[in-house]
Symmetry: C2
């Protein structure tokens, strides 16, 4: 029996063997977080229904929610036009952020001048 | 007169001096693309109302839409809990992707086993 690798051959990993994965809540459409996957983490994410990352700081696989209970269930996975970024839509249980906020971007706004398409 | 740098000192850039920026449509909430900024691109994005990236392939600043007309107007900017990723919400004129699709992830889905929170 031949096993077919579910990870597209065209997918591009950086010089550290990693690809950034944007995680989006499939229902609220909030952007929850960005984390990194190596080829094996992508494979596990595509075949297990649960999002798995590679932790750069701890140097290990990290199946989101195994410690916190805040699991991420895969609803869809897509790559971008350059095949070097993933977008994973999920059902998020509990808070996505380890700090307890709903997303990793919640309450972390940076002051910016807003653009106005009408005035340009 | 002292100029205050609008780029937070806590913001973390990688070994190449870059930070990934997730671009989200502020209205549809679609994730449009991911691109990279150096400190100066972040500064220009925060102060001009228009999203500016650093092009790794071309080695130059790239104010989105200057060539294509598909400009991105800043609605908000936030950093994540690790201060190493940006989320920029924008008003997007036209297609976000240089291939002409609305987002860089449109029609680029990868087959995946879906997770089921009820079954776990």
């Amino acid at each position: 029996m031949t096993m077919v690798d579910p990870v597209p051959e065209t997918l591009k990993f950086d010089e550290s063997g990693l690809i950034p994965a944007i995680i989006q809540d499939d229902e609220s459409r909030d952007v929850l977080m960005l984390a990194w996957m190596d080829r094996e983490a992508v494979r596990r994410t595509l075949t297990s229904g649960r999002v798995t990352f590679w932790s750069r700081s701890r140097g290990e696989y990290w199946r989101k929610g195994d410690t916190s209970g805040h699991r991420q269930y895969v609803r869809s996975v897509a790559m971008d036009c350059d095949a070097d970024t993933l977008l994973v839509r999920v059902v998020q249980l509990g808070a996505a952020c380890h700090t307890g906020t709903r997303t990793c971007f919640t309450d972390r706004e940076i002051a910016a001048l807003l653009g106005d398409p009408e005035a340009d």
